[in-house]
Structures are given as C-alpha cells and as structure tokens.
Symmetry: C2
Subunit: 201 residues, 2 copies
C-alpha cells in the first residue's frame, strides 16, 4: 500500500473514532508513524482527505448497489439493499455523523450529495412501483404519492448511524443487524399478504 493510500485508511479509522474536528493532520501522521511534513506532502489540505473519502464512499455504494439485479424485485432484495448500504455507511460513519458540518464546509460535496439524493429518490420510486405491480406492496396506502414515504425511509437510512452512536451499545455487527431490522421493519405496514409471506419465508 502506498503512503497516500495508507493516509486515507488511517484518516478514515481515526475520523470514525473521534470525528474530523478532533483528529488533526498531526494525529494521522503520528498514528502512521510518519512525519507531519510527509503527510502534508501527500495531502497539503486536510479537506482533500475528506473529499477523497467521500468519493470512496460514493464509489463503493455505486459499485455494490449496481451489482444488485433489479429485473425482479422482491422483499428480500429490499432487505439485501439495506444491508449493503448500511454496511458501507458504517465503514464511513464519520461522514454520516458529520454530514451537515461537512456540507457546510465543502460545497462541492453538498452539491453532489443533493443530486445523488434526487437520483436515489427516482430509483426508489421505481422499486416501489415494481413492488406494487408484483402485489407485494399495498397500492391503496400510497395514492400514487411515494414522496413522503421515501423521504421518511431515507431519513432513517441517512441518520441511523448518528442515533446509534448516541444510544446503541454493542459491536458494529450487532449495530448493523439491529438497525437493518429497524429500517426494514419500516416497510411491514405497506406489505400485502403476499409480501408478508416473502418476509417470513
């Protein structure tokens, strides 16, 4: 691994533990046992480290989600997507915990995230429509309006880590499992009998 890669890795670890404020470029260098000057040779601006980590997060989500086949939707697919997403989010948890601060500081990230959010909204609308057409979701509950339920779900999906950071005690694995369950349980009232059968089966 190159020094440049190792810096990202170490920064991610420390940011996740204590946040980007508390962790200085000197901390990162010390953790790696390289000089502070060396770190600043590779990343003259601390902000660049954060930007790069954000790009990694987006990339990773993109890669993993694109692997999921969306030709045939199912309840287990929904759960699978939540597991994948939550797992990657947990890996970059500092970003979700400090999302507002980071977007205040780095407008490019804010702009990118906002357009990403719109894409995600469209994707999810598509999935819900498919679930309805497969008689897995109960259409009558929506009245053709998926906006609010999507916003509700993404709110949970983007901030579960922050809540867990305050309230949850246990290993990251337990945390992931617990909150995937909380998040996927969100859909239960929308399920048809057929959908519910898929859930238990």
């Amino acid at each position: 691994m190159t020094t440049k890669e190792k810096i990202l890795e170490t920064a991610l670890k420390l940011f996740n533990e204590r946040g980007t404020d508390q962790i200085t470029t000197r901390h990162i260098a010390a953790e790696m046992k390289i000089s502070h000057g060396n770190l600043c040779y590779h990343y003259p601006k601390k902000e660049e480290i954060i930007k790069k980590l954000y790009e990694e997060l987006v990339q990773e989500l993109d890669n993993e989600i694109s692997k999921v086949q969306l030709n045939v939707v199912s309840i287990s697919l929904l759960i699978q997507m939540a597991e994948i997403t939550f797992g990657i989010q947990l890996k970059y948890k500092f970003f979700l915990i400090e999302i507002v601060k980071i977007m205040r500081d780095i407008p490019e990230i804010k702009t990118h995230f906002r357009s990403l959010y719109q894409k995600r909204e469209a994707q999810f609308t598509f999935i819900i429509e498919k679930l309805i057409s497969e008689s897995l979701f109960n259409a009558s509950l929506f009245e053709g309006n998926y906006e609010k339920i999507i916003k509700q779900f993404y709110l949970i999906g983007d901030f579960w880590i922050s809540e867990a950071e305050i309230l949850f005690e246990g290993s990251p694995e337990e945390k992931l499992r617990t909150y995937v369950e909380i998040a996927t349980a969100f859909f239960t009232p929308y399920l048809t009998q057929k959908g519910r059968a898929q859930l238990t089966g």
Copy 2:
C-alpha cells in the same frame, strides 16, 4: 434582559446559523458589542453556554408537552404534539445538527439525553396503546411490539432538521410545515378507518 441572558440568546442565534465550531466566544461578544472579557466573566467556559442552551431546550419541551392533555388521545393530538416538538427543536436546531459531537464532548448531556429517550419511549408506548384501545390504530400491525416503530419515528423526529439543513430550501415556517407533514404521514399506514376519518376531518 441581563447580559447573561443576552449572551445565551446571541449564542443560540449564531450557533444555529453557523454551528458551535465556527462560532467563537469572540464572535458572540462582537455580535453583542460587548468585550470578549465581559463575555468570559459571565461564561468562563464555552461549554457552559452549550449546556445552558440544552437545559433550555429540555425545559421548553417539557413545559409545552406537559400542557397537552393526554386523557383523551386522538390523531389531531398526535399531530399537535409533533408541531410543538418540531417547533421547539427548530428554535434550538444547532443542538440537533451537532447532537453526536455535543454528546461526545459533554458526557453529562449524553447521559441526560439517553435517560430522556427512554422516558419518551415509555410515553409513546402509552399513547400508542391508547390509540389502539380507541380503535384509531390498527393493533394487528404491531403484534404488541412497538419498539421498532417508535425508534423509527424518533429517528425522524430527531434528525429531520439535519436532513432539512442539507436538502430543504425555503423559510423556517415552510420547513416546519413540510417536515411535520412528512413525520405525521409516518402514521397513516397504521390508522384504522376511524383513525383515517379523524385525519381528514
């Protein structure tokens, strides 16, 4: 208004605008046109200002929520409680935006918030049970287990401001109205016909 009170008021305004990191004790003093030394006479520790503002937030929520009569529950009561809570949260939005960071820095607040959360969970369980006994909520969806739905709802209730800070464009009033609607829509799939009638009525 005493200087001490004015400091809190000014700090709240500036914290809400730019966050507790960006706003220094010097900023607060400058905004008030008092000396930095004077501010530090009243609040030698910046942390004390944040603590005091948190106490105000808790107090205000407590006062306003305790006014609501819970003898007879109804859907409109649920909405009313959301409106009250969201309004007060918006007044202290810096706290909700920086909730993880603040609780990392100030353990007393974390401890207090966690016990408060437990109380809120119990209160909400009580309300849901009442709504079920009044045939406003559909009992069959819960199977006597309210934990997940409560966690989902409080997640929305505690982090809607953070999401709005990134995504929403509009006045605080519009913001409040929009997110109260998103949050209360969370309950629609749980409503019985009777409950739904109350909603539209």
